[in-house]
Subunit: 404 residues, 2 copies
């Protein structure tokens, strides 16, 4: 498997585009994105578990209940959530796009991200769709990725190439992250494309299994969004024998998918609102997989740990505290903690108690912008990882006045 360029256009038969249609006031920001597969694609998705759900999720869920889609349209700047006419606007968007692409409106995935509770005017979308469709190209993954960004400061895309049965397949993805990121048995806005031939059922199986260790292990601020959605489209144009059951081919596909999703998780966490650092908490020696996950996620979510990391302060007591209140069944007297970055690794806690360490060396390690918080529970064989970011002044600034 190798990393390749092209993002969501890396796989055969996928085109994309992103434009500014006028939903966002800033004319330099794209606010409407489109992904299109020449061949109707087997499609799988997972959605937020928030009871307050964006209208686009309702429409998308119904549209792809048959396991197929040909296009994804997504706007930023408005979540189309908690609006009386939300479903109507989302459905109309599908119809307008389908008409222009000459496909069925039932083959459209529609998504929105932005402010909750402000009516979404269909006008700029209706006006923008002709330009959006006319500009579809097989090298515009970047434009689409920009079109779904909100407070994201960095573009999030990735693609990998791998072989199945002698055929070269590719998977690519783009993501929107930044704030309201705490997927809970669901995930944030991610669109993934592949030319690998795989049945809708197996695609759903792969996606549902994968997100438990990837997107569900990311948190920026503990707030589970109303509009989370991951969609994977597989158009089969790589011409491998279609994957319809477990086996070696499915394993290869799962591994490729995981490479794409882990990369996007790291990009989402590292570009969390206001973040200066990507935090990765790796937990080893857990008695069960659940315990490892619970511990990793609790550490990543701790406001105090996040603020300490921002200050490059080796305040490991906060890590222990977060493990202690996580609800996981751990023996606190067996826990070891160390901090690691490109500058090295330093042990700070052994058997649940502090040990002497060089504050100077710890500072040097923690001043880096990718930090690993290594927790050894010394209580079993399972390992887990979770991704988050530091808590900074800018997080408060961005969210103190997000709407204006």
């Amino acid at each position: 498997m190798k990393i390749v360029s092209g993002g969501i256009c890396a796989a055969k038969g996928f085109k994309a585009n992103g434009i500014h249609c006028g939903i966002r006031k800033n004319r330099t920001k794209r606010d409407l994105a489109l992904i299109y597969s020449e061949k109707r694609a087997n499609t799988a998705a997972v959605y937020t578990t928030n009871l307050v759900k964006g209208a686009p999720l309702t429409v998308t869920k119904q549209n792809i209940s048959d396991g197929y889609a040909s296009a994804v349209i997504c706007n930023s700047g408005n979540a189309n959530t908690c609006n009386a006419d939300g479903v109507e606007v989302a459905s109309k968007t599908c119809e307008l796009l389908a008409d222009k692409l000459n496909i069925s409106p039932k083959d459209v995935v529609v998504a929105s991200t932005g402010v909750i509770g402000q009516p979404l005017d269909i006008t700029p979308i209706a006006n923008g769709i002709p330009e959006l469709v006319a500009g579809l190209e097989n090298d515009k993954s970047q434009q689409a990725a920009e079109g779904i960004m909100t407070t994201d400061t960095k573009l999030k895309e990735i693609a990998v190439s791998f072989e199945i049965g002698g055929k070269t397949c590719k998977i690519g993805g783009i993501a929107k992250g930044s704030g309201m990121i705490h997927p809970n048995m669901a995930t944030m806005l991610v669109f993934i494309t592949t030319d690998c031939a795989i049945s809708s059922d197996m695609l759903q199986k792969a996606l549902s299994a994968d997100i438990k260790n990837t997107f569900n292990m990311v948190s920026v601020d503990g707030d589970t969004s109303t509009n989370d959605m991951v969609v994977v489209m597989a158009n089969g144009m790589a011409e491998n024998e279609e994957i319809i059951a477990d086996g070696a081919d499915f394993e290869i596909f799962m591994k490729a998918l995981n490479t794409v999703t882990v990369d996007l998780c790291r990009k989402i966490a590292g570009d969390g609102e206001g973040a200066t650092k990507l935090l990765e908490c790796t937990v080893s020696g857990a008695k069960t997989e659940d315990i490892g996950k619970t511990v990793a996620k609790s550490v990543i979510c701790s406001a105090l740990t996040k603020a300490a990391m921002f200050g490059a302060d080796a305040n490991w007591g906060r890590v222990l505290c977060a493990i202690g209140y996580s609800g996981a069944d751990v023996d606190v007297n067996k826990i070891d903690v160390s901090f690691k970055s490109a500058k090295g690794e330093i042990a700070v806690c052994k058997n649940g108690a502090g040990i002497d360490f060089s504050e100077e060396k710890a500072k040097e390690i923690l001043l880096e912008n990718e930090i690993e918080i290594k927790v050894s529970l010394n209580d079993g064989e399972f390992s887990s990882a979770a991704w988050g970011c530091d808590l900074t002044y800018d997080y408060v600034k961005i969210n103190g006045d997000y709407r204006t």
Copy 2:
């Protein structure tokens, strides 16, 4: 019932003191507090559910397992948690104090708050105890309240007077709040004294029932501390007939206790680390008590809602979002939300959707320093409240470098 002065010294037979003994570097900050009851008091307590527990909790729990205590000693500046010799230092503290007060070490409640994982030197405590005991007075509640403060900016004390069987009783309390505040079936550091005669069992029953609606409904940052503890001492010196069962007297006592605890909750939340505003989320119309509590707590804990309140931004979509992911069984299409303060009340969401409102008026309301977020679930008869604070630059500043 009426509010009276005197704090923890309001009730008969209680004396207190607070000094600087040298645990904290800043010589102007008191770091050792003492509460003493002339008469051995029936005592009840609740503790953090964090698996990582401060050593003082282990010692206190054992000491008051018989339901009695005569004194509370508490230091700030060091949590005495995750230290190999923690229990030894806490036990030694009890012995040194008991010797000076001429009581049993088993009648001492010991508590600590501050940094986790730094050894606590017994020397300043040993040197300070003679001065601490010599200075005991019945008008030094304030000194004791200061002695338990960490990053708190305001002193937290309250006392009420009430009558039981023709006898005047008093209850007073002090609290330490500020950071690592998210009690979970437990609570933060609070000491309450009363001269009301009440058995240890009934005292424990009253306390355990009360905290479910008071301290457990407070969150500053979602981090459940390792050193949470609430202790109530009742020395019976009001000479009312001892409360030994449910009934009218117990109801009066519960109400008085609740007045003290709600007041301390509001003070803790309003003085959360970096806070500029006290937030109260009141939920009405819940189908069950649990649903009301879950919703109120979820709103109060939402980083995005907290940041919006800091910016006086009526971003009610974040309130809806936090209700939606709370896990509570609610009908999102029935939810109404309004914001209220001394400047008035403004409705912003009706039946789960936005309504037109004056942004100007909303801003005026939200610029106040006590904000009520009113949620009507319109789905039942239960009400709940939770307390928190806004998320500010100063929270990040305080916690980016807490140890140095």
